[in-house]
Structure formats: structure tokens, C-alpha cells
């Protein structure tokens, strides 16, 4: 049995927001403009993104709203009706509700009756987990159609009031501000079926390699600002105390980020070694990480080792659609399919490196025509 991505969809809330407009929406922390913003934006290269909150910090689209919009956009491109979806597989970093699982809310939003449900818990790579569950289920013949929906609403974490509640300027350092100028909102969806339909994408294989055993947390929410305080957010007497201690801020340990590139390369080399991946046959690389991080010495070594993928084969929309966490790879795949319209036979490698505690996922797709 095989699995085929027969339709893709995406949703980005509101207008494209430029770098100059960002702080007007997210707000000035303690009334002062950020001193790190320009440096962080220069490093990530993002030019525009979308937010599901407005200047008054009202939520214009909930995470659920965006998920439903992306799912409908995906289903609009397919004759498969929502009611015949056997498996609904979802992922998000943070749902609107803490519980129940995001998938339950999305199912209700879409009105799919009696579907089997899966919700992946994690950060960027949770999208790959959700896709893999769908692919495996189709390969087992358990369902004929599975819908994968991944949505992210990060901007609510970045309101100036969040930082002020955690101590204002004192709470802000490079690690706690890094993601404020990196992450934004959006949703993506794919319909996966057990048989090909029209021009579609066969899922050749999916693999992931996690290294949480070897490395510390690199991106997370839940630990207080004081690194020697080993409590996590729910250990505090009240949520207000947890917030005041900085335990609800999202942080990136920027010093550890270099591992992301190395582990991304390591996983690809492992797939080459075991014969799963042949980079010379890859026509397009979609990577949920800015390609400029893969340049320099490591790219030179990969080229010398016959494992490099030339820059012209890299496709990304991170610079214009923003980094939407788990949703990025599906938003990228959707725009890629609409814009590039790859020909039958083309091979696409998707790569999702997650810095949370270092998980990297890979997926190879081949364009087929029914």
C-alpha cells in the first residue's frame, strides 16, 4: 500500500506585516523599542509574516479558525468530501485550549463525523509526526483518506504585556527575545489518500531522528528565568507566580542552535549511508530552516563528500510567509505545488529540523500522475 498527498492548503491571517510594522503590533516592552530586533531579523532574513492578533492585541483568528481555514482550502481542491475522511491528524505547539487535544477542536470545527483522531504534541517537527501517523495508517489500509492539519498562533506569546508581567526589561535578553522576531502565525493542511488522484505526491518514505538524550532543551516554555530554579510552570502556587518568574516566556538557547544544522546534516548522511536517500536524485529541497545557515564550512564538506544539494534546488517561502513553526513545512509545500508545479517524476525532499530538544524529520515525495 502507498500513500499520496492529493491536495494541499494553507491559511495566513490578515495582511503581510513588514519588519517595520512588527513592533507596532506586538507592542513596546516597558514603552521602549527593542534593541535586539534589527540584529535578530537580519540573522533570520524574514521580510514579511502574518499575525492573528491586531494592534489592540485582540485575537483576529483563533488557532482553530486558522486550522479550519487551511483544511477547507485543502479540501476545496479535492473532490473528497469532509465526511469521508477516516483519520484526522493534527499538530500545533499550543492550542487555544490547554486541553482537550487540538485535533478534537479541529474535528468539531470541520464537522467531520466519527473520524479517528490523532494530535501530535511538540514544536516544529510535530507536523511531521502528524503526517507520519496519517501515512502509516493509509499504508496499513486502515483508512482511504486522512486529513493532516497543522496550525500555529505564536504571536499571542509575544505581546509586550507578557514580557512586562515577567519583569519587563529585566526579563528580556537575547534568548527570550529571539523568537519574538522569528515566529508568526499560519496554518497548513494536506489530504493524504491510499490511491493516487490526478497529479499528486507519492510519499516515498518518512524518517526522523531525535537527540533529546544527548542535548539540553534548546527552545521551550515552562522553565523560569533563573536557570538554577528547577521548578516548571505548574510547580508554582499560582499561574501568576509562574508568569512573574518568567516560566511562561518562550525561550531559545541561541548558543545551542548550531546543533540544528549539524544534526540536520547528520540525519541526511545516515539516510544516505543506509541507502534510503540518494541526493543526486533530489530535484527540490524544502527545508523548514533558513538555507543560509547551511552555507559555509559544512556546505563545503557536504559538497566534497558528494552529499551536497545545490542552492538552486532549495525552495523556501520562509522569508515572505514567516516562520510558522510546525505549520511552515505544509505552508511551504502548498505554495511550492501552486507556484512551481513540479513535473511527474520530480523528487522532493522535505526536511524539518526542530530545535526544541533536537528532533529532525525527513520526508521524500515523488510527483506521480494517475
Amino acid at each position: 500500500m502507498n500513500a499520496y498527498i492529493t491536495s494541499t492548503g494553507a491559511f495566513l491571517p490578515g495582511p503581510a506585516i513588514t519588519n517595520d510594522e512588527m513592533e507596532g503590533i506586538l507592542g513596546l516592552v516597558a514603552g521602549k523599542p527593542s534593541r535586539l530586533k534589527a540584529r535578530i531579523l537580519k540573522a533570520n532574513g524574514i521580510l514579511t509574516r502574518h499575525y492573528a492578533i491586531d494592534r489592540a492585541h485582540r485575537t483576529t483568528h483563533s488557532n482553530l479558525d486558522m486550522a479550519v481555514a487551511a483544511a477547507n482550502n485543502c479540501l476545496d481542491g479535492s473532490p473528497v468530501p469532509a465526511r469521508s475522511i477516516g483519520l484526522l491528524s493534527c499538530a500545533t505547539t499550543q492550542g487555544d485550549m490547554v486541553i482537550p487535544g487540538f485535533g478534537s477542536m479541529v474535528q468539531a470545527g470541520l464537522g467531520i463525523p466519527g473520524a479517528e483522531l490523532f494530535t501530535a504534541h511538540g514544536i516544529c517537527s510535530s507536523s511531521a509526526m502528524a503526517v507520519k501517523v496519517a501515512v502509516n495508517s493509509l499504508k496499513l489500509g486502515e483508512h482511504r483518506a486522512a486529513l493532516v492539519v497543522v496550525s500555529e498562533l505564536a504571536s499571542r506569546l509575544f505581546k509586550n504585556t507578557r514580557y512586562e508581567a515577567a519583569g519587563g526589561e529585566d526579563a528580556i535578553d537575547f534568548n527570550s527575545e529571539f523568537l519574538r522576531w522569528m515566529l508568526s502565525d499560519g496554518a497548513g493542511a494536506v489530504l493524504i489518500e491510499g490511491a493516487p488522484r490526478g497529479r499528486c505526491l507519492r510519499v516515498d518514505w518518512m524518517r526522523g531522528f531525535s537527540h533529546a538524550n544527548a542535548l539540553p532543551v534548546c527552545m521551550g516554555i515552562g522553565a523560569p528565568t533563573d536557570a538554577t530554579d528547577k521548578r516548571t510552570w505548574q510547580d508554582f502556587a499560582t499561574y501568576a507566580e509562574a508568569e512573574a518568574a518568567g516560566a511562561l516566556l518562550i525561550r531559545q538557547d541561541v548558543r545551542l542552535l548550531e546543533h540544528i544544522v549539524k544534526l540536520g546534516v547528520d540525519g541526511a548522511l545516515r539516510l544516505i549511508e543506509e541507502g534510503t536517500l540518494d541526493v543526486s536524485g533530489i530535484d527540490h529541497l524544502l527545508c523548514h530552516y533558513s538555507s543560509h545557515h547551511f552555507r559555509g564550512k559544512i556546505a563545503d564538506m557536504l559538497d566534497m563528500a558528494g552529499a551536497g544539494i545545490p542552492q538552486e534546488k532549495w525552495y523556501t517561502n520562509l522569508y515572505t510567509r514567516g516562520n510558522t513553526g510546525a505549520a511552515s513545512i505544509l505552508i511551504m509545500l502548498d505554495e511550492f505545488m501552486r507556484e512551481v508545479r513540479p513535473a511527474p517524476g520530480a523528487k522532493i525532499l522535505c526536511m524539518v529540523p526542530e530545535s526544541g530538544r533536537f528532533n529532525t524529520a525527513y520526508m521524500q515525495l515523488t510527483v506521480v500522475e494517475e
Binding site: L215, A227, L269, M304, G306
Partner: protein, 233 residues
């Protein structure tokens, strides 16, 4: 850097490419193993202390002092058909044979006593690492030590670019205490060109390539063991 400049090859043979891929994976494996070593984990988490740094230098010195011995021995084990490799290794031995003095000066700048660091014996990991390197370097034409060079030079670069500044900021010590760590950071392009050239020169058969990769693996494990011993009572 070695006295002999080595040109970067245009490209590697198929076996050379495969060996380079395997060596990259050995390096990434070694780095992960290293990240889990307690003293390195403290460096990552920001709880690394001045005492940690003193202990690190105390535990590194015996192996650094002995480093010039196995490199010299390695050079003398190459026969006339491998004179080109011998020249490279000799240059290397000359560059490194007194760098333990830099390490000692760092220790003293840190407030340590010179007699203490000189009297410090090898820890069990250093003992094993040294014994293995001396054994391998006594073999005829010990090209497998390219694997050792891969790990040890990679670590030298990591210490220079990643550890030195971090240690300064966590312990409050100045650059006069981190000269050894920074010592191996320069000349990166020349290092890489030398490495690429040696991969093709040494890995002419599958079994030679296997030997290089295995040597890298053993050296990586023993190096990590050496650093683990710092936290052993």
C-alpha cells in the same frame, strides 16, 4: 599548521567521499557524546565554574604533554613510499610539541600552582587514550591515525570557537587564561584542505577506510571518557 602546504583536491574519489561522510557522522556522534559529559553539560547549561575550568586543564595536560610523543612516533612509522605523509605529520609534531606549556601558563593565570598541574597523573580515560594512540602509531604506515586527527583537530576548533569565549563569560576569567583553548582555532581552510588530501591519499581500499573510521570512533569515545573522569570521585 604543518610546514608542508597541501593543495586542496578538485574532488574526492568515490571511496574518499564515502569515508568523508562516515567521518562527518563520527564527528557528530562524538559531539553528542561530548554534550552528555557532565562538565560539558554544565558549560551548555551555564553552571560551569572556575573550579570546573581548573579541573578541565588539570585533566587535559597529561594527554597534551604525551600528544607530541605519539605524533612523532607516528611520523617515524611511515616508510619511504609514504614520505609525503611523513612530512605532513612531522610538521604537525613540530607545531604541537610544546603546546602543553601554553596550557600550563593558562592554569597559572587562573590562580593554579604550576607544581600541582605538573604533578598531576593521567586519569583512566587519558591513560587509555594515550595507550591506544601509542599502539596505533607504532603500526607500519599508520594512516588510520587520520581518524584520530579528525577528532582531535575538530575538538581543537570547537574549543577555540565554542568553548573559550563561553568559559570566559561563565567564569569571569580573561583571555590570558584561555590561550590553549584558542590555540587550535586558526587556519581552518588549510586544515580542511590537508584533511581532504589525506582522505584520498590514505583511503585507497575499503579496509583502510574502515580502519580510519574505527580509529576516529575509538578516539572519540576515549576522549569523552577522559572528560567524564573529571567528575569521578
Amino acid at each position: 599548521m604543518s610546514a608542508v602546504e597541501i593543495a586542496r583536491p578538485e574532488s574526492l574519489t568515490e571511496l574518499g567521499q564515502e569515508t568523508l561522510r562516515r567521518l562527518m557522522r563520527e564527528w557528530f556522534n562524538f559531539e553528542r557524546r561530548l554534550s552528555a559529559v557532565p562538565i560539558v553539560r554544565r558549560l551548555d547549561l551555564g553552571t560551569f565554574s572556575r573550579e570546573d575550568y581548573r579541573n578541565l586543564l588539570l585533566n587535559l595536560r597529561p594527554q597534551v604533554v604525551e600528544g607530541s610523543r605519539w605524533i612523532s612516533r607516528c611520523a617515524s612509522s611511515f616508510d619511504r613510499d609514504h614520505a609525503d605523509i611523513r612530512s605532513i605529520v612531522l610538521g604537525h609534531a613540530h607545531d604541537e610539541h610544546r603546546d602543553y606549556e601554553v596550557l600550563e601558563r593558562d592554569y597559572v593565570a587562573l590562580g593554579g600552582d604550576l607544581a600541582t598541574i605538573r604533578a598531576r597523573a593521567k586519569n583512566p580515560g587519558s591513560e587509555a587514550l594515550h595507550a591506544f594512540l601509542m599502539f596505533k602509531s607504532g603500526e607500519p604506515n599508520p594512516g588510520a591515525l587520520l581518524g584520530a586527527m579528525w577528532i582531535i583537530e575538530g575538538l581543537g576548533e570547537k574549543m577555540a570557537t565554542n568553548w573559550a569565549e563561553r568559559i570566559e563569560s561563565l567564569t569571569g576569567c580573561g583571555p590570558e587564561c584561555t590561550r590553549f583553548l584558542r590555540y587550535h582555532g586558526g587556519n581552518d581552510d588549510a586544515h580542511m584542505n590537508k584533511l581532504y588530501a589525506l582522505v584520498d591519499r590514505i583511503c585507497t581500499t575499503g579496509s583502510r577506510a574502515d580502519d580510519v573510521v574505527m580509529t576516529a570512533r575509538v578516539v572519540g569515545r576515549m576522549y569523552a571518557w577522559q572528560l567524564e573522569e573529571i567528575d569521578e570521585p
